[in-house]
Symmetry: none
Subunit: 277 residues, 2 copies
DNA sequence: ACTTATTTTGCGCTGAATGCAACCAAACAC
DNA sequence: GTGTTTGGTTGCATTCAGCGCAAAATAAGT
């Protein structure tokens, strides 16, 4: 029996080409691939690949280095993705939130960082809900359970700065709070989730995990609030699950499997060596 | 005369569809788009659009909400976009942008030159954000605050040519605008940053500075838009900081610390600009 | 139930993609 | 310089895949 042509031939070819161009690891060095190499790798006619690439270039899907004559992925892809990621986030996240909400039977939220505030984009309530509606509500970063996850990529210096501006200064509790915060964030970096206890803040306890968009930047955080605080071990279990869910959501958003964002290639301090560390 | 078939028909159609899906804002709300709506908007047969979308879905370029039956861009596109040259740039630049954004509490952008348009790669909003999302959006060079920084290495003749093509010709304002532009660009060459006032253009004021890649070529520009225009001196202070940050970013991108690219090898300039500022 | 709105499918017809081979252009060797 | 290798584009006849129309299917109101 013949396979039904789900995808048109031309598109399939184009996608294969793009996929080859995306795979920057096996081929000859970092920047770009030549027509011949691509054709050989795909087992296609050079002429087809040549023509297809010209067409793709005209559309901005690929761009060609004028001197080396090699192709790589183009700005158009970036542009398309960048414009849509925002609105996509909520829709793609919904099933994941629902999954967590039913699994734990706790309120689950999707939050983003806006300035120094955490904005809750959407919430899925638990079954036994008397619940407050948090959608559209902003709270300061330090108050929010999701805050730790959202700041995970920040430089320590910037985090301190932010905390000092927000916490009542001079108090011992502030100092310890600051250290606690940094420890929590280190925990996020290491294990992919944060456990928030009910400390100085009045918000409920909960766990949260960062969600990364296609480029690897933290775009949002999933947070599960916990009403009756359970045992420490239980919280960690939940954390691991939430982290895994956040990771899957990140993949659904287009995050390439390989690198979970900055942290691997720690970039130099943008503030320069001026600040004390 | 026959138009030369630069791009294949199928690809063109697919790109138009993707472009529609990316353009949220005008259509029916934030949700995706239906086959009919897309077909009507493109002036194409519904059947074509339907089939094309199914093919695109099979490739993961678009995805369909199973309940609303509407399409939106898919994970594959984002995954590809993440491996773009631009994406790498964004990742490295992000901490630098965030630094500037919190330092000045103003919207900060990373822009690249694409043809005669300036494409905004990423934006870090200020805390008081009323903010439009500029990511992935292109504006003409002359309209963008970052334009001056991006064109800093161009020959004066080419810049004039570009400006004449863009500005309304014959007007006095155009002439003065052209001279102003060249003066601004000379300022970039000398001091490493540009201050954009609100002149004939409707864009906001701001400062910008060019970012150079490893070869010393201008690869992007950092621009900080300023909402309430502050004093001239304040703008210069900001400019110096932005220029310094751009320089650090350039280093992070692999630019050898010594040579800030073309401009240094211009005229000998014995007047002692060696110290930079 | 009916009616409307929206999407998919069947099917001849036409035009555009295909593959081969010839052609072009650098790069490298001698 | 001449010849050779490697990498890329173009001409052209054949054929197959996409095209549009209209009808069928599906979902959504009423």
């Amino acid at each position: 029996m013949s396979e039904k042509p789900v995808s048109s031939a031309g598109l399939r070819r184009d996608m294969e080409i793009l996929e080859v161009l995306a795979g920057h690891g096996d081929g000859p060095d970092a920047d770009g691939f030549g027509v011949n190499w691509i054709a050989e790798r795909l087992g296609r006619e050079k002429s087809q690949v040549s023509r297809a690439l010209r067409a793709l270039e005209a559309e901005g899907m690929v761009e060609r280095d004028p001197v080396t004559r090699r192709y790589r992925l183009g700005w158009r892809l970036f542009s398309l993705a960048a414009r849509t990621q925002q609105s996509r986030l909520v829709r793609v996240a919904e099933p994941f939130l629902r999954h967590l909400a039913t699994l734990f039977d706790e309120d689950t939220h999707l939050c983003v960082l806006r300035g120094e505030m955490v904005l809750t984009l959407s919430s899925v309530p638990s079954s036994r809900a008397y619940h407050r509606i948090w959608e559209g509500v902003s709270v300061p970063v330090i108050m929010a359970a999701a805050g730790r996850s959202l700041l995970a990529d920040w430089e320590d210096g910037q985090i301190r700065e932010l905390l000092r501006a927000a916490l009542p200064s001079g108090l011992d509790s502030a100092i310890s709070g600051e250290e606690q915060w940094l420890a929590d964030i280190e925990h996020v970096r290491a294990f992919g989730y944060a456990v928030t206890d009910v400390e100085l803040e009045d918000s409920a306890a909960g766990v949260s995990a960062p969600v990364r968009e296609h480029r690897g930047l933290i775009a949002a955080a999933i947070s599960v609030s916990v009403t009756r605080t359970p045992a420490e071990s239980r919280m960690r279990e939940m954390g691991a699950v939430v982290a895994e869910t956040a990771r899957r959501l990140s993949t659904a958003l287009g995050l390439p499997p390989g690198a979970p964002g900055p942290g691997s290639d720690r970039s130099p301090d943008p503030a320069g060596s001026a600040g004390g560390r």
